[in-house]
Symmetry: C2
Subunit: 343 residues, 2 copies
């Protein structure tokens, strides 16, 4: 049985003063005599008084809880964004509750509801890959619960969001492939309804055009963002009469799966097929060959998301601020076909 922590009342009783006096002294209210203030503060420390957040929350109608919904928690990408969120949350006196949707629409809805029941002050969300219906978010907006999206967002909803410039990044990848002598560049994309799939696809196509390459529909495969489907997609590419000489995976999970499948087919990376991923997971450096990937300013993404959310929570101002951050192509062995590039 937990002991009851000391309350203002306890301190008040011990000193024979009123609760309000103690309350005031502790927040340096000018109307309390310096001596009393001092005495009260001393006792508070001695008894290790900590204000009861429940009582404060009840009074102010706020929990200081920020709900964070992510598709998964086991990738460096999300873990790092969460870290960023946490760093500013803590600084501002909030704590975060993480909820993983496991890429499932149903679990995402559940998470929203749970967080709502727990009276979270606001939500930071990255959509699950299944999510096509947004009514759970619309009702949040209706109830004016502060909400911020990141990475995978709902474009039709006027909600602040933090994204990266996936179009630019994908375009750069295509150019990088081209410069390394690749001419049949394949793209394993994600579900078409996700902004990240669309953006990167657009960049891919743009890059092809800029490089004077023709678009071959059979080189663009759409699949779910998991290893199993990516393996199948890769297999499909490798069974083409004319196989690609480069593959761009929409994320590193996809690229890792592709790498495995390419090796299985006795093809060399990058000599036969150059490979590039996206998001730059921890293990990009560990796989063999090391995977070229697109690193994201994840920490910053998290921080920005938290900053915007807390701003909305505390000022009550609505915002539709949309922040687009730039990424960086981290070139490693998996895409370095040409020797000319002095790398």
């Amino acid at each position: 049985m937990k002991k009851r922590p000391v309350s203002l009342k306890d301190l008040a009783n011990e000193l024979g003063v009123s609760i309000s006096t103690v309350s005031r002294a502790l927040k340096n209210h000018p109307n309390i005599s310096p001596e009393l203030t001092h005495k009260i503060k001393e006792l508070a420390i001695k008894r290790s008084y900590v204000p009861n957040p429940l009582a404060m929350g009840l009074l102010r109608q706020q929990t200081k809880m920020i709900g964070v919904i992510v598709p998964d928690i086991v990738t460096y990408f999300f873990a790092s964004i969460i870290s960023g969120i946490e760093s500013v949350a803590e600084e501002k006196g909030y704590y975060i509750v993480i909820s993983s949707s496991s890429e499932l629409y149903k679990k995402e809805v559940e998470s929203v509801n749970n967080l709502l029941k727990a009276r979270a002050d606001g939500l930071i969300v990255c959509l699950s890959q299944e999510t096509k219906d947004f009514s759970h978010f619309e009702s949040l907006i209706r109830d004016e619960i502060p909400l911020v999206f990141f990475d995978r967002i709902v474009e039709s909803l006027k909600v602040p969001s933090i994204i990266v410039d996936g179009t630019e990044a994908a375009k750069n990848i295509t150019h990088h492939f081209y410069e390394n002598g690749c001419r049949r560049i394949a793209y394993i994309s994600g579900p078409e309804h996700l902004n990240i799939s669309k953006d990167r696809k657009q960049g891919y196509l743009k890059g092809l055009t800029e490089c004077g390459l023709q678009f071959h529909p059979e080189l663009l495969i759409e699949c779910n963002l998991n290893a199993a489907e990516a393996t199948l997609a890769t297999r499909q590419l490798l069974n083409l009469k004319q196989i690609p000489d480069a593959i761009f995976g929409i994320n590193d999970t996809v690229a890792f799966a592709a790498m495995k499948e390419i090796k299985k087919h006795q093809l060399r990376i990058p000599e036969d097929i150059a490979l590039v991923g996206f998001t730059d997971e921890f293990h990009s450096k560990i796989v063999d060959p090391a995977l070229t990937s697109v690193s994201h300013p994840t920490w910053k993404m998290g921080q920005e998301a938290a900053r915007i959310l807390i701003e909305i929570i505390e000022t009550g101002k609505k915002s539709k601020k949309q922040i687009k951050l730039q990424t960086e192509l981290v070139i490693r062995k998996s895409s370095l076909k040409a020797t000319k590039s002095g790398l």
Copy 2:
């Protein structure tokens, strides 16, 4: 500005009854007429009434918050344990707040304090690798805050814990190496003060003895649980006059680093050096060659930890239950030197 959610009072006013009547009806108190009960419940649903957890918490002196402190959040091992914790927590009406110590003692202490301030109902903790002083936990115990350790525990404290049988697992690894023809088996261990280091070391030594192998002190290196130190340790092993023909890493992070370093030295895995990790991370299958590792019942570990903690929270009973789970050696290419083993 968030709208105030509906309260019992709102419902009571709308129906012209008292608050307590509404409260009772909603929890099927027998003393309320069926019709009234029905009417009240209907309105509650219509207005989507949700009880205010802050008010409940204040009344019952509990937050329904479970604090979870882990060394990191980005490994599959911890992410999966957290999942397990979450599953039973949710079932029992608790939510969890995850705090990462980043393997830092200072951050661990901070996390404990934050969770304490937030009035978490209990804590589930895996020690940071730096932690040697346990006063922050002792004060928890003094205040009778329910506490459960997992994996890396404080043996001197009488606190319930969930661990795996690392001794048995390490012994099996040694045998596995031996059966594959290895005779100079090295072990890259973690900080000596951690129970996991000690347990596995003991198993390693036991295994050597059982296989009739001599212990060579230069084949046992103690390092911190990170890639940089593991790389150094591996280098040290590879610079020996007589290099090992097998390396056992205390976890997969260490093993991955070793793998990289071994390859760098132009040695083949497993032909020149067999390699085995621990915890069976997601990427064990992705690296080349696939890494033999020790898989943990992570989901179950999390569930058990949560179950025990909640039991303590709700019954107030003290417990020193110690659960030791078995692991499984998952054999992959990195350790299969011999062809005789029909695998």
